[in-house]
Amino acid sequence: MDDDDITQITEALRQTVEADPAAARKAITEFGWLELLDDQEQIAVSTLLPIWGRSLAQGSLLDPILVRAGGVADPTGLRVVLPALGSTRAPGRLVGDRVEIDGVLATGYGPILVLMATDGGLTLALCDDPGVVAGDPLDPSAGWARLTGSPAVLEKRTPTGIDPDVAWSAMLAAGRRALAYELIGVSEKMLEMTVEHVASRHQFGRALGSFQAVKHQLADVKLWTTVARLAADAAWEDGGEVSAALAKAAAVRASAAARRSCQQLLGGMGFTWEHDFHRYLRRALTLEPMLGGGPGLHRELGAALRSGAVSHDLIAL
């Protein structure tokens, strides 16, 4: 595929999602995006996920991305239990024949895949539908809920032919790249709506955007969203864990900068329910800590550097 093909796909996906963000998952499935994901993960993720973020499309695309990265056979409809927000530790713990879970799960139906810590190391288990997951999520449209407890009803069925450590590390990297692109979409949209606001709204007889205090905040948001894009695109070069963690960390920095500065600059208008800003804020706050937030990623990256795992050739000329 050349650049023109990618531009065309991006445009088609944009129209598909924006036509009805609440039904976008069905629409992109009909579009054939899952097949694209099978064949060309980079193109599938880097084109759709930013659109997903900026449209606040309903639900998440993480599950199909994760099960493919983990090499799970027959992945259709399978949901993956993610670590608790902000954490990257296994969400499940095997206690006797019960699985204690503290994690995050996409709302829906069907079997779930749980990474469990056992005395013998990590184990991936295929479990039955845990049933209704209660909660009061900050962003109900994101489609994520907290899953806690130790449901004894879960039946453990280990997928065959999968090394849990290898699979989980590939899933973590793929999930972080996807979340990075989604956060980039959310951040870029927040920046755009704020630039529009401060360019058109006048106070003291001047456009708000002509005040240096306003410009400087938005310049920083522009810096970090630009960096986040470059970091996400660079994460495919080696496809590794470190570059995926760097991409997610850059996206979290961009998102945090955008939500802080844009909320301040949108002022009283942005603090109303009527204004769209809070919907982006809710999505950003939900996605930022998933598969490790800023502090966790920094600890992980620091430990990686100290163990010699961060090559000088990463992001080479």
């Binding site: 456009a207 002509s210 410009k215 522009k222 960390a249 920094h298 100290r306």
Partner: protein, 381 residues
Amino acid sequence: MTTVETLMVPETVAEARTGFRTWLAENRAPLEQFRETGGELTEIFDRLRRLQRMLYDAGWIRLGWPESAGGLGGRRILRSIISEELAHAGYPPPFSFATQEVLGPAVAEFAPAELAAVALPRLLQGEETWCQGFSEPGAGSDLASLRLQAVRVDGGWQVSGEKVWTSWAQLADRCLLLARTGPSDSGHRGISAFLLDMNTPGITVSRLRSMNGDDEFCSLFFDNVVIPEGRLLGEVDGGWAVATHVLAGERGAAAWQRQIWLRSRLDELAADPAADVGDDAIGESLELLTALRLLSRRTVARLSADEPVGSTTSLDKLAMSTAEKFLFDVALAGKSADTVFGHPDENWRNDYLYSRASSIYGGAAEIQRNIIAERLLGLPR
């Protein structure tokens, strides 16, 4: 030792990398002396000049420069590859590496052919060094308000005025000088650029000690200095284009060199058992250095492909000062006793103090943010 005659311009980046790595390994013994970084300024300067000459004679630092400048041709990105590999192998950058990347491209672009043909090869060989006469006591962030005046006289231009914060002028053979050639209120439209010899009568160089104790800065006084014909860069009153070119170089290839050095300092800090620095601070420093690396890589690639970089280099500059100050803030917190009370290895104290200038020189962070907001986001002036 590989000689110029046998060094072919590598076809690919990978080929250049491998070739230079092999050469470095083969010449480990004669290069050993250059690992030393201490000593008196003149000693350091002399040692780095010899390193530069050795790299020039072998042809490596002629890669990516046109033949008219004393180079061997090839894409500009090769220059960044060579400086990167040199740093990874543990050698300091030759003294005029930064000058080459900051001032060299502008002189190659704007100098009369005869001047470029003489000056650039000498710069590449390490035969001479250059300084940058931009800032004035009354023109720092507002560079376009500079007042040092150049008036037309028989046989050239006569210059009077003052420059300040000029790095290493006491060692420089030439100066890229910005002067007012238009009316006093002509702003950036009335500035011309010259490349003049520092031994021209009428120039007084006086040292200006910087707050970290370095003798890097100088003040330059020009008392009716006559610059001969043939030293004008670009057009009369067209100096702003030269200045912009210089700043693009500073934020491009020079930034790539800077982030390599910053990464080596991060590695040293992370491995220092005496430093009280957690994984989180190391990781966040790595994240910010990566931000600079990504932006700088984009700029280096664009410059190498002769694509315009425009105002995006302000992002690079802002990322550079953010990353550099963050790293040395972390080092300060983790090595506070050494910094405050002193240590035989003074580098951490010095690097911390010097890092404070990173958001001031080459256009203060406030100026970069204005440029980003106005030119990249389109906010009203």
